[in-house]
Amino acid sequence: MRLVAENLSRSFGRRAFGPVSFSVEAGRVLGVAGENGSGKTTLLKTLAGLIRPSGGRARIFFEGEDAGDGCEPRDVPWRIGWAAPDLALYGELTAEENMIFFERVRGLVPTPGRARALLEGVGLPPDSHSKKPLSSLSTGQRQRVKLAFATLHEPDLLFLDEPGANLDEAGRSIVQKVVAEQRLRGITVIASNDPRDLALADERVTLS
């Protein structure tokens, strides 16, 4: 599997990022660096298929299928996981209900222990994920739930925007664990200004 960006750019009236070109192979981690306002978040959203590119294109090539031209990220949402500061989950629901909801809309059959195991995997104590609504959790705890959301469906491509933000040391080690697991599954792209996040990457793209 390979993720390829060719002269990818996006503008909202004025330029947001790009054009950038790069290629990432399965098992690798790409870091996206750049100062505030350089378009890291927009690039990640474009790669995740949440935003249409203004110019150029992003392509995903999977082994055995679509070998010719690859496919666009927006056509394969079930292969993509995404977590970002401007992602929010449903505050009226508990973390567990959130996970079960997203399993259902993705067409997965929710098994009782799976959501719980996933949430425990990102270090949430049981009483905070099954009893309290998400809106009453702390920012750091919600960041952990986002990591669980992004990996819920075992995506081939995982996009993490500022994954270490608001996390304590234990939380950061969970990010490391998530990235290590994703290496076995496919591609990871991390956008951050924090050297500790970028240290997880094998390759780097810097936006200006």
């Binding site: 992602l87 449903y90 505050g91 009226e92 259902r104 809309v105 993705r106 067409g107």
Partner: protein
């Protein structure tokens, strides 16, 4: 690497979205409160200001039909935009966009809005009939009109809500965008309600029933065809 999975089915996703909407609504009661309170407040105002006695018998069917649909229309305008507007405001839209098939999202939210507006209709119409002394000669036609009209209102409003949720000045824009789309069926529904109030013969209203069925079908189809472009831009 995980095995390739097909995209999620529309129906399971729609059911999940519908259940989540109702659960969230049950816990917060924001839309229910605003809809019911608004409808009730307007009804009280209308019943007090107009009432059953101040209308001459020949004016009663027309004025009551108009007032009833005005109450239902503006109730829809106060509450039905929330499904999408809250999703964008709270920032949950991206998670849903990434996880669920677009048609499933629209279907789930449409069903939730139909349920919500249906509940308001069930609550407000009997009160309206009693407080306004609104005599219905043809109850089956009246009920059918309410069903079709409510569905049309919910359908056009849900799609409009998806549009305005991405714009600034959402509240003001919602009614501005919805009124031109809803004027034709509302005019039809008002005229047909007057027919239901004055004539016991069901066949007198069939033209309007056909109009509403056709409208509901067309606006719902158009909404489903265009929703992907709106939802994922």
């Amino acid at each position: 690497m995980s095995a390739p999975r097909p995209a999620a089915g529309i129906l399971p996703a729609a059911i999940a979205v519908f259940r989540r909407e109702l659960l969230a609504e049950w816990r917060t009661r924001v839309a229910v409160n605003s809809l019911f309170l608004f409808a009730f407040a307007v009804l009280v105002l209308v019943a007090y200001a107009v009432g059953p006695t101040r209308l001459s018998p020949e004016d009663r069917p027309t004025v009551n039909a108009v007032l009833l649909w005005i109450v239902l229309f503006f109730s829809a305008m106060t509450g039905l935009s929330r499904t999408f507007v809250h999703e964008e405001d709270a920032g949950t839209a991206a998670a849903l966009r990434l996880s669920a098939p677009p048609s499933g999202v629209l279907l789930g939210k449409l069903l939730a809005n139909v349920a919500l507006l249906g509940a308001v209709t069930v609550f407000i119409v009997p009160l309206f009939v009693v407080l306004m002394g609104f005599e219905i000669m043809d109850p089956p036609l009246f009920v059918l009109l309410l069903l079709l009209g409510t569905f049309g209102l919910a359908s056009a409003s849900t799609f409009t809500a998806a549009l305005v949720s991405k714009a600034s000045a959402k509240g003001a824009l919602f009614a501005v965008l919805a009124i031109p789309l809803l004027l034709p069926p509302l005019v039809g529904a008002v005229l047909a309600t007057r027919v239901a109030a004055t004539e016991a013969d069901f066949s007198a209203g069939t033209d309007f029933v056909r109009l509403l069925v056709a409208y509901d079908g067309v606006v719902t189809t158009a909404a489903f065809l265009l929703f992907d472009a709106v939802w994922r831009e």
